[in-house]
């Protein structure tokens, strides 16, 4: 696979239709993701980070432009297989009806696989939860527990690319560290490519080798960490970074 990027975004545009009119939420996004990389996506809220992940999982399609996986337009790939291979953990950790185990095995069961093929207890402890939760009603979990079950649920599909949307936003520092280590390990040991949306720049610095900065639907900066945070070339990126770092220091 040398030379060819795993994922390519070619002049991608996405519009939203609001009562006030049609507004672009992603504009002219061109970028590529090398196989095995771990990229963090940062930017102000409303910048279009979640929308970008939705497009990569094909929950929606771009209005203009093209997304390629291994050189093929993702529109030409079987969408059900694509969504398993390019797994998404949504920003809202919504639970499906049933138990924690039902949630974790949801993806495998769609393929006729079950407890024999997928170790739900192991996945649960990987994300820092006790396997005793397996038979608990998923609707009764706390926000932090849901967030981790949602991650385990996506991992159960054994994705090759992992799209994470602020997956530690309701977790305490200890649980956050555990998730960060898990993802870094999956990236290093299983060569899973990771795109990680976070609003926490310190987290981006801890986990990422590269960062993309999204502002107002535009990819204003992309480069290696920490350089891209320390010396952003783009004024919008610079303003975002310095504002964010000030905010961090205030707390």
């Amino acid at each position: 696979m040398s030379g060819k990027p795993l994922i390519e975004l070619i002049d991608v545009w996405k519009y939203r239709h609001l009562e006030s009119g049609t507004v672009p939420t992603l504009q002219q996004i061109s970028a590529s993701v090398e196989n095995g990389s771990l990229i963090t996506l940062v930017g102000p809220s409303g910048a279009g980070k979640s929308t970008l992940l939705w497009l990569l999982n094909r929950l929606e399609d771009p209005d203009r432009g093209e997304i390629r996986l291994r050189g093929r337009s993702i529109k030409e790939i079987d969408v059900l297989g694509l969504r398993r291979e390019v797994g998404l953990v949504l920003q809202q950790p919504v639970m499906l009806p049933g138990t924690v185990k039902d949630n974790i095995l949801y993806g495998p069961r769609l393929k006729g696989a079950g407890e024999r093929e997928v170790d739900a207890a192991q996945l649960l402890s990987d994300v820092g939860l006790s396997p005793s939760l397996l038979d608990r009603d998923a609707g009764k979990l706390s926000g932090g527990q849901r967030q981790r079950v949602a991650l385990a649920r996506t991992l159960a599909n054994r994705p090759r690319v992992l799209l994470l949307d602020e997956v530690t936003s309701s977790l305490d520092p200890q649980s956050t560290a555990r998730i960060e280590n898990l993802i870094i390990r999956l990236n290093r040991e299983k060569n899973i490519t990771v795109l990680w949306v976070t609003h926490n720049l310190k987290q981006a610095l801890r986990v990422g080798r590269e960062a993309w900065i999204l502002v107002d639907g535009k990819l204003v900066e992309a480069g290696t960490l920490p350089g891209v945070f320390l010396h952003p070339q783009n004024a919008l990126a610079g303003a975002y970074i310095s504002g964010k770092l000030e905010g961090v220091e205030e707390h």
Binding site: D61, V79, R84, L96, Y106, G107
Partner: protein, 249 residues
Amino acid sequence: MSTTALLMTYSFVVLAMMLSTWQRLGLERDLVVGTLRATVQLLAVGYVLQLVFNLKDWPFMVLMIGVMTVVAAYNASRRGRELPAIFIKVLVAIGAAEIMALGLTLGLGIVEPTPQFVIPLSGMFIGNAMVASSLLLNSLRREIISHRAEIIVALSLGATARQAVSESLRRAVRASSIPIVDGLKTVGLVQLPGMMTGLIIGGASPIDAVRYQLLIMFALAAVMAFTSIILSFLVYPALFTPAHQLIER
């Protein structure tokens, strides 16, 4: 019933209008319109039925059932105007339910294939299929809106559109079947069904009336379940793109 007696029934309407005026409910206009429409529609139906019964002709019967089905489908499909080709889908669901119910009642020899039985029974089957369709379209819309996030999660994990909405479809069908199930549980205890009341007043023995009522109730339960299940399967694909993406509305 004599014409004089029929005219006297309008005193109920007058009473209702007096109450409405007294309590400033503002229902007078609706009462007048409703009363006029009920009178004209039912009298017209009565004369048409008399005509069809006298003709004892299959083509007329089929034509009448066809008209009833189209009117019912038109009415119910207004509940889902935003959905593509909804009229045709409701028409198919109601038509299928009517064919199923009438086929069973006639095929099993439960009633005779004469207009006297076929037309009123069809009226009830189609009317209830229409109610079931409206209820289903409403409850399906509610389900999709309130469980949107779950549907998206299921899709993101590789579910097909059908797998992702199956829970919502089930809940919508269940919700739209509640009225008839509740009806089955309380029938005879809370109120005598209209048809039974009519038969008894018309001179049938209460036992005969009960037998027909049971037939009707069971057939209607089947009709409602059948209509909402068929309609749910006809409607859900329009909520998704061919790439299993939930369409925003």
